[in-house]
């Protein structure tokens, strides 16, 4: 039982590493698309966070008290952890382009817009059904297939939480397959209502 509990912790940490590294990629592409230093800095901060997560993860794996014959299973876990860190590093390198003050080449914007998985931004209008709803209630992924990565409110960036309430004028930065982009834009502008 004790082992099972410990193992649960290991897995949760790995899932957090995987999700954070993927979020970083999306945010890094967003920072290029919008030439935004703030988003790029966010990526750099997450990179430090991933470094410490990764160390915690490795310590958890090493202290799990596995038997010699199980060592191969645990090597698999350690290697997966290394991969997520590598992805996080790649994201940080993309963000660095923006932080170095290099104006992103126009081709980069086109690439991000044309790719299968894209990042997009949508301004929430007063008449949108999203206005006044929390992200949990807004069910944007279910409606559009797009994930909200960040919210720009005035000069502030907000990291989305389920309880974050969407306000008119917010700019949503979201990622997903290109097909969902139009649905999100419609939902945010208020030209389409919820299907429910």
């Amino acid at each position: 039982m004790l082992f099972r509990k410990h193992f649960k912790k290991i897995v949760n940490k790995l899932v957090e590493l995987k999700d954070t590294s993927e979020l970083m990629m999306d945010l890094a592409y967003s920072s290029l698309l919008l030439n935004s230093r703030e988003l790029a800095e966010e990526v750099q901060e997450l990179e430090e966070h991933v470094d410490s997560l990764h160390t915690e993860f490795e310590l958890l794996v090493l202290s799990s008290g596995f038997k010699p014959e199980e060592s191969k299973d645990f090597l698999g876990l350690i290697r997966l952890g290394v991969v997520t860190e590598k992805i996080a590093d790649a994201a940080a390198e993309i963000a660095e382009v923006v932080l170095r003050g290099l104006e992103p080449h126009p081709v980069l914007k086109l690439v991000i817009e044309e790719a299968e998985e894209t990042v997009t931004r949508a301004r929430v209008s007063k008449k949108s059904s999203l206005t006044g709803r929390s992200l949990r209630d807004a069910e944007i992924p279910e409606e559009t297939g797009m994930w909200v990565l960040a919210i720009r409110r005035g000069k502030r960036w907000i990291r989305p939480q389920p309880k974050t309430v969407i306000k008119a004028g917010d700019v949503l930065i979201a990622s997903g397959y290109a097909e969902g982009e139009e649905d999100l834009l419609k939902l945010a502008s208020g030209t389409s209502k919820f299907s429910s």
Binding site: F7, V11, L75, L80, V83, I87, D89, E93
Partner: protein, 205 residues
């Protein structure tokens, strides 16, 4: 060790190259995690095939970017493109690392699978055999998404990669199809491609 492909300069737009690299690297990550979770050597080998493709694209992109720079200002703006390409290449390397874990028979604990499965979707790989009833068919005519809930997200035809093929694409014998969909539909598609399923939606096509 297999020989590496000889690299020759080809005039291709940097934009097309980078779009393909970005799409492939993201596809590879999804495929690699799927390979790890389902212990699939086939998916893992496909990741390694795609990895070679991304490496080649990276070389061609760098050559084209070098030729595109006429002055210092161009160079400043193109170095960012080159950096981003290097990062997508690094992501594809990371995917290949996962594939290597699978091929070296290093197991990943089953509890990890539960935690990683966010959606009721899986990826599958199927090679189109000569006797398959879908060989020679147009994607638009097959209506796979409507009939069995499966999308073909990628076709590898020899060294050529067709990402997100459109409905005018015709499936050819020997194609490697990467599909996404509900587990049942993915299995049906695999059967259709290898020729063991001879009927489609209860009727022949």
């Amino acid at each position: 060790m297999e020989g590496l492909e000889k690299i020759e300069y080809k005039p291709v737009s940097v934009r097309d190259l980078l779009v393909e690299m970005k799409d492939l690297s993201e596809l590879m990550i999804d495929l690699a995690y799927s390979a790890a979770l389902f212990h699939s050597d086939e998916l893992a080998k496909e990741v390694l095939e795609l990895e070679k493709r991304v490496d080649t694209l990276a070389y061609i992109l760098d050559m084209n970017a070098m030729l595109a720079a006429r002055d210092a200002e161009d160079a400043e703006s193109l170095v960012g493109v080159s950096k981003v390409a290097a990062a997508t290449n690094k992501i594809s390397d990371a995917a290949a690392d996962i594939a290597a874990i699978v091929l070296q028979k290093i197991d990943i604990h089953p509890v990890v699978r539960e935690a990683f499965e966010k959606v009721e979707e899986r990826l599958g790989r199927a090679e189109v055999k000569p006797n398959s009833i879908i060989a020679g068919k147009r994607l638009g005519d097959l209506e796979l998404a409507a009939k069995i809930g499966v999308d073909i997200i990628h076709i590898r035809r020899g060294k050529q990669c067709i990402i997100n093929p459109n409905e005018d694409e015709t499936i050819v014998e020997g194609d490697v199809l990467i599909v996404r969909g509900a587990p049942f539909g993915v299995e049906e598609l695999e059967g259709l491609a290898n020729g063991t399923v001879r009927e489609f939606e209860g009727r022949s096509i």
